[in-house]
């Protein structure tokens, strides 16, 4: 079983850790992480379609309360986890970044759904931000359009694993001079200024989609408008496609 194997791996790590740091620090770490991972309070913050699946996750059938995460807080000050559920548009992005900045440490972000990860199906829109990770760091990406409620629970479990692996001495929020607030972008004449924060995100080196189609899909910008004034000829019968040659 994968589960038991995992357990033994943790134990191996634990042994090494015990040898290095001693019992007290390790136990405190475990207690601290256990406490945090089993009471993640998400922010009640839905953007689009995925938000409905997020609500469904909180409802009877999937019951996110079993993970200690049922308390959806409307205020960012009281929440530990921001589930970015839905398309982040350019008009909304500054607000999302501001909400992230307002959250108290420790804070985590799950991007739920293709749209919030990279723009998803709406990637070519003029008002769609291609991934909220351009401005804030993300802990767990959860693809799907929209992901099933079970998938959100799986994402939450992934986050719990991440929390488990953190240590008090090295966590970001106890470090001196650690910057965990990210500047909020402004509205520009054609999009957001800046387009991304290079400290958080940089363009992917290999981008097939861009290489192949150019940036927006714009499948051949049309140059000839239909002439509706023209007298109606006999309606042309839609031509059946050519037979495929296998």
């Amino acid at each position: 079983m994968a589960f038991s194997k995992n357990q033994s791996e943790v134990d191996e790590g634990l042994k090494g850790e015990l040898a290095k740091k001693g019992v007290v620090v390790t136990t405190i770490n475990q207690l601290y992480n256990w406490g945090r991972q089993s009471s993640i309070w998400p922010m009640q913050f839905g953007l689009a379609c995925c938000a409905i699946e997020m609500i469904a996750t909180a409802c009877a059938r999937y019951d996110i309360a079993r993970f200690g995460a049922e308390l959806f807080r409307p205020s960012p000050r009281q929440s530990d986890l921001m589930i970015v559920a839905g398309t982040v548009t350019k008009k909304m992005a500054p607000q999302v970044v501001r909400l992230y900045n307002q959250m108290a440490e420790p804070k985590y972000v799950i991007t739920m759904g293709a749209c919030s990860i990279a723009g998803g199906p709406f990637i070519d829109g003029y008002n769609v931000l291609r991934g909220i990770d351009r401005y804030i760091p993300i802990d767990v990406h959860l693809p799907g359009c929209p992901p099933r409620p079970e998938a959100l629970l799986y994402g939450l479990m992934e986050l719990q694993k991440k929390i488990q692996s953190q240590e008090i001495e090295t966590t970001e929020w106890y470090q001196k001079g650690m910057k965990r607030e990210y500047p909020v972008p402004d509205f520009g004449p054609h999009g957001l200024v800046p387009k991304f924060n290079p400290e958080v995100w940089q363009p992917r080196e290999l981008d097939h989609r861009k290489d192949k189609y150019g940036e927006p899909i714009l499948i051949g910008r049309k140059t000839k408008a239909p002439d509706l004034d023209a007298p109606l000829a006999t309606p042309p019968v839609a031509q059946p496609p050519k037979p495929q040659t296998a």
Binding site: A60, R61, Y62, D63, R66, T111, A114, I117, A118, G119, G120, P121, F122, I123, D124, G131, D133, I138, D139, V140, H141, L142, P143, G144, C145, P147, R148, E150, A151, L153, Y154, G155, M157, E158, K162, R204, L206, H208, R209, K212, Y213, I217, Q244, A246
Partner: protein, 195 residues
């Protein structure tokens, strides 16, 4: 004037629901929760999440012929295909690169619908999550490959129908070939008149 009868009635409904949760089944008003990681809902056969590529028997024997139809039909254009070439530079009927960007895919199932070779299908796997989106969420050909047995397991009805159809087509082809061979051996075909 409020008597509160409506409120009391409402409270009774919740009380009834609370008591029913101990005695009744999930569809009669009892506990409706599916405790996900341990228990799972029965998978619907047509459930579609992300696409996968199908191969027969061995992974080298994949059905995709790199015709690029799915890439063109894909509404958000998340599929990228490059045809494979042999050493002499002749195009082969298989993809060298077949990438699907899971961060763009919208799970619509149009690739499956449009594929003329029964090569791409929608998977039931939904437990995909991770911290790295730039590299891990771009699925390459080898990550996407799944066997026909797997397909038969997750979607028996569709897989059965497709297999039967393919077998039939193959037999027809074989029979036609046999017929042609037979015709050739027994009676040489007259050459078509040149025009």
């Amino acid at each position: 004037m409020i008597f509160g009868t409506g409120i009391i009635k409402g409270m009774l409904v919740t009380l009834k629901a609370f008591l029913a949760s101990y005695f009744k089944g999930p569809h009669e008003g009892g506990i409706f929760t599916v405790e996900y990681p341990e228990k799972r809902l029965a998978e619907k056969e047509r459930f579609r999440n992300f696409p996968f590529l199908l191969y027969d028997q061995t992974p080298e024997n994949l059905r995709c012929v790199a015709c690029d139809i799915c890439a063109k039909e894909c509404p958000p254009k998340c599929i990228y295909i490059v045809r494979d070439f042999d050493k002499e530079g002749r195009p082969l009927k298989r993809p060298a690169i077949f990438d699907i960007d899971f961060t763009v895919c919208m799970n619509c199932g149009i690739c499956e619908e449009a594929c003329p070779f029964d090569a791409i299908f929608m998977d039931h796997e939904f437990e995909i999550a991770g911290p790295d989106r730039q590299n891990k969420m771009l699925y390459h050909r080898d990550d996407l490959l799944k066997s026909n047995e797997y397909f038969n397991k997750i979607r028996p009805t569709d897989a059965g129908a497709i297999d039967a159809r393919r077998r039939e087509a193959e037999e027809k082809k074989k029979a036609a070939a046999a017929q042609a061979v037979k015709a050739k051996t027994t009676q040489p075909q007259p050459e078509p008149p040149k025009t």
